[in-house]
């Protein structure tokens, strides 16, 4: 893998590592190794997706409300950013394979830029959620409510539930309709959706950060001429497998987290 590559004096390092018999064996092993790693990644995200599915079966209403409270526009832009970065890294493999070193650096750099912009938007989105107070937690407050007999009481609910109510009412339209139909208990439980939201996007962001780190390293190596022997295109290819996988995760997160609720286009402007 790319991490196995030496940091300096690349020209002295043999292209075929000492324990391989030939370049084909090395390519096959490296590629296969990354595929196996991706299998573990699929199962890793599979675990949380399974938990998500089980919980959503129990609480469809809460998940709809939680998703409605999210900001779908930033996520939509981010989808296209990631798809484009998948495209550029594919071009980078080809450039490395053909020995076009300027092209390689260009495409690697653009992948890094697209990934970073994604993270920037994501940070903005998190900040928005933070400002709206959509943070699950044990903090409690009291609100006016009525008990089963219609008698007014003070009810202890989580701060999150109050914030969720405000956000949905502020969005208006269908969001407000959803909010009006919810009980305080349901608003409280919407926290679970947000745990999944932060957990899943957080893990995805973590994978993006690792990926961008590795890409920067490869850009550095490309600068140093590590990819001059075109046989080393394999490291870019293996890196791209990982990057595509991160994209794939997002493709599934997008409908599950952002599109599970009711959105209207009014909020754009």
């Amino acid at each position: 893998m790319a991490t196995n590559a030496p940091h300096e004096g690349e020209s002295r390092e043999p292209i075929v590592a000492h324990h391989f018999n030939n370049i084909r064996q090395q390519h096959a092993s490296v590629r296969f190794g990354m595929w196996i790693f991706l299998v573990t990644e699929v199962l890793f995200f599979g675990g949380v997706l399974c938990a998500y599915a089980a919980t959503r079966i129990w609480y469809p209403k809460e998940f709809e409300a939680g998703s409605t409270a999210l900001n779908p526009f930033i996520a939509s832009i981010n989808t296209f950013l990631l798809l484009t970065s998948s495209f550029t890294i594919t071009l980078a493999i080809r450039a490395a394979y053909k020995g076009q070193h300027t092209g390689l650096r260009l495409w690697l750099a653009s992948t890094i830029v697209l990934g970073t912009v994604f993270l920037g938007f994501k940070a903005r989105e998190y900040y928005g959620d933070y400002e709206e107070g959509l943070i699950p937690g044990p903090l409690k407050t009291q609100v006016d409510d009525v008990d089963t007999n219609g008698k007014p009481i003070l009810r202890e609910v989580s701060v999150f539930a109050v914030n969720l109510k405000h956000v949905l009412e502020h969005k208006g339209g269908k969001a407000k309709e959803i909010s009006d139909k919810m009980t305080w208990n349901e608003r409280d439980r919407t926290q679970i959706f947000f745990v999944f939201y932060y957990g899943m996007t957080g893990l995805h962001v973590l994978h993006m950060i690792v990926g961008i780190g590795l890409l920067i390293w490869q850009l550095l190596l490309a600068q140093l001429g590590f990819f001059k022997p075109t046989e080393r295109f394999i490291y870019i290819e293996v890196m791209s497998l990982y990057w595509h996988f991160v994209d794939l995760v997002w493709i599934f997160l997008f409908p599950l987290l952002y599109m599970a609720g009711k959105h209207s286009m009014d909020g754009i402007f």
């Binding site: 299998v39 089980a54 129990w58 484009t84 495209f87 595509h244 493709i251 599950l256 599109m259």
Partner: protein
């Protein structure tokens, strides 16, 4: 042992060169188109079927991404097997866990 002639070891003879620019571009455009579709569906109110349609689109996108971008179409059987194993074992996890959630309220006695 020495009388055996060593045969050359051949690995993945069938692996082709990386995808051409045209293929990559087409794949990208296709994926982007599907993403647009996913958003159109996401912003409309289809009720209960919405999640299934969205997931269906995501699966199609995933297949295209794996087969074309991740070059599974040129890969050998082993790589296909690896990819399928991931899908199958995730399916197992979902199968049993969700069966529990969907049947837990049926009592035997």
């Amino acid at each position: 042992m020495s009388d055996h002639v060593q045969k050359p070891i051949v690995f993945e003879q069938d692996h082709a060169e990386p995808a051409s620019v045209a293929t990559s571009t087409l794949t990208f455009l296709f994926l982007a188109g599907l993403s647009c579709l996913a958003m159109m569906i996401g912003f409309t109110d289809l009720g209960a079927v919405k999640v299934w349609i969205s997931l269906g689109i995501a699966c199609v996108q995933g297949i295209i991404l794996t087969v074309f971008f991740m070059d599974l179409r040129h890969a050998d059987k082993l790589t296909w097997l690896t990819a399928m194993a991931a899908v199958f074992w995730t399916f197992l996890l979902f199968l049993f866990t969700l069966t529990d959630y969907l049947t837990r309220h049926y009592y035997a006695f």
